[in-house]
Amino acid sequence: MAELTYRDAVTRGIAQEMARDPDVVFFGEDVAKAGGVFKTTVGLLEQFGPLRVRDPPISELAIMGAAMGAAMTGLKPIAEIMFSDFFAVCFDYIANEFGKSRYMSNGQLKCPLVVRTGNGAGSRFGAQHSQSVENWCMMIPGLKVVAPSTPRDVIGLLAAAVRDPDPVIFFEHKSLYATKGEVPDGEIVDQLGTAKIVRPGRDATILALAFMVPRALEAAEKLKAEHGLDCEVIDVRSLVPLDTQTILGSLARTHRLFTVEENPRLCGWGAEIVSIAADEAFYDLDGPPVRITTPHLPLPATDILEDMVLPTADRIVDRVRRSLSA
């Protein structure tokens, strides 16, 4: 067991899979010689050599397409798109190609690739380098979508993603790179499609993803200490496949549902889960489900404004407390 940063966990996760399987290759802008703009890939070039760790040009279409072509024909590529906002310039592959080739070809084509990307706000980068776009990917049939919140989950879910036979979009959160967590020694392999109850509780279920998980946990501690409310916090981890059973199972015990989402409000991932809860667990609910989200706004750069739009622990506390006491 060692303490590792989320950033170093990315490196270790990629290295674990590259050491295991020579068909795993890794490429992305500035990932090889420079070690990544977020320093998530330092040392991989030296460890695995220039044939397996490569710097492409700033050509997101070429990166995504090349990853697909390599995956179709026998490699297991990990591609990095530096900021998830840049998905918009190569969205054809996400929306039209990765997840549809198997279906359209009646099962002839495969697409076992992983796209890693830096997602989310908190770095004061403004509206084009700060977005949480996991919901963009969640809505597309054929993809799998993962967003870890801890160093251990980074390694385990990345391994699961690389070993998965389907295309997986892997959202790393930029504001989590410097955070630390305990990581066991040796190989770590997790399972896609599994949510994790990170804090058990009786009074409400709070769902969170990535950077919102530590905020939800902080809020749950405050709710307990200051208001005597015992909230269960679930790290959703995987939007597709979605671990509905864990979520609805929690709801059956707590009878209240809150989502904490960094993506903007309209069509955020929590909307789908609330819809599922309304369909399938309506009579378990003792009150209306509540979505705590970033408002439907472009993200501002300046710290005082960016801090206002992201859900904070205090906002979660306030919203949960008011809801439960209503």
Partner: protein, 346 residues
């Protein structure tokens, strides 16, 4: 069969041995292939008029020589990446006519049992790694397949076909640069049929030859071919494949050709100037090649035998397709994910 020492039309005189490098067997194969594409595409059009071809279709009537020359020069294991105008390239890799027409008719005997349709013909067992309906998308994909060959030391080449319109989309330029910098074994084939869809390519492009005149930007040779002569295509293809297999990197090849029909089935192609179609039909690739066979001393009855045989096979395929059932309904939710199903939740 006696051979006449003649130079065929379109060929450069005075280059010794030029006419003997292809050989009778390959020439007969290429003639058969062009006739098969012509007759299958014509049949697809007829079936459309009978309302038996569903959805859209994009025919390669008039462009048969390009598909034939490039496919004929391939080795087993080489990979084709096609556009929505992909029937010809699919047939040229040896995919049975019935499987192609069946897919156009969206029957259970289709290549993808009707799940893909005309624009997405795919036959991995024949090296047809998909037909892509988003303009430009498959150029980077072909780069990735070529990267795999380079990384694993495989000797196959990836051949990516696209139209002139593709040269003005970003993915074209990203793929060309990427392939050139990484020295990938990929061949980019631009079929310049003069129209991006309805608009003449010259009206929307800054250079005369939309692909070839950009080759220098990527450190590549400028290559413009007569796309109506399968021999010319075949020779250029072989040279490009050899270069790619030897580690010499990508090639960009522009083939001048013409589509006899509109962009898609909805397009009567009224935007074309009077006489243009007739002028191109005088350089019909099948007519050129038929004359070539005769010049090389191949008997008329042998040539006619090929035509009759292809016609019979197209008829047989058509009848099989008409008799084929629609696909079973369980296909709806199959093969979304690798487990064969579509479950996105537990």
């Amino acid at each position: 069969m006696a051979r006449k020492p003649a130079h065929a039309p379109g060929e450069t005189a005075g280059q010794p041995g030029l006419n003997d490098d292809i050989g009778e067997k390959m020439r007969l194969t290429m003639y058969r292939m062009q006739v098969e594409i012509r007759q299958s595409e014509q049949r697809a059009y007829d079936l459309f008029l009978q309302n038996l071809v569903k959805g859209t279709s994009h025919l390669s009537l008039g462009q048969e020589a390009v598909a034939t020359g490039f496919a004929a020069a391939m080795k087993p294991g080489d990979l084709s990446f096609c556009t929505y105008r992909g029937h010809a390239h699919t047939l040229a890799r040896g995919v049975p006519i019935e499987r192609v027409l069946g897919e156009l008719m969206q029957r259970d005997n289709g290549l993808m049992r009707g799940k893909g349709g005309s624009m997405h013909l795919t036959s991995v067992e024949h090296g047809v790694m998909g037909s892509y309906a988003i303009v430009g998308a498959h150029l980077p994909i072909a780069c990735g397949a070529a990267w795999r060959a380079q990384y694993k030391g495989d000797k196959d080449v990836s051949v990516c076909f696209f139209g002139d319109g593709t040269t003005n989309i970003g993915a074209f330029h990203e793929a060309l640069n990427f392939a050139a910098v990484w020295k990938l074994p990929v061949i980019f084939v631009c079929e310049n049929n003069l129209y991006m869809e309805y608009t003449p390519i010259g009206e929307v492009t800054s250079v005369e030859h939309p692909a070839a005149d950009r080759a220098a930007s990527y450190g590549l040779e400028r290559i413009v071919l007569d796309g109506q002569d399968a021999d010319t295509i075949y020779r250029a293809a072989r040279a490009a494949y050899d270069k790619a297999r030897a580690g010499g990197g990508p090639s960009l090849i522009e083939c001048m050709t013409y589509r006899y029909s509109g962009h898609s089935r909805a397009d009567p192609a009224k935007y074309r100037p009077d006489g243009e179609l007739d002028a191109w039909k005088k350089r019909d690739p099948i007519k050129i090649y038929r004359d070539r066979l005769i010049q090389f001393g191949i008997a008329e009855n042998v040539i006619a035998g090929i035509e009759t045989d292809v016609n019979r096979r197209v008829d047989e395929a058509t009848e099989k397709c008409k008799a084929a059932p629609p696909p079973s309904l369980d296909l709806l939710t199959s093969d979304v994910y690798a487990d064969g199903g579509w479950a996105w939740r537990n």
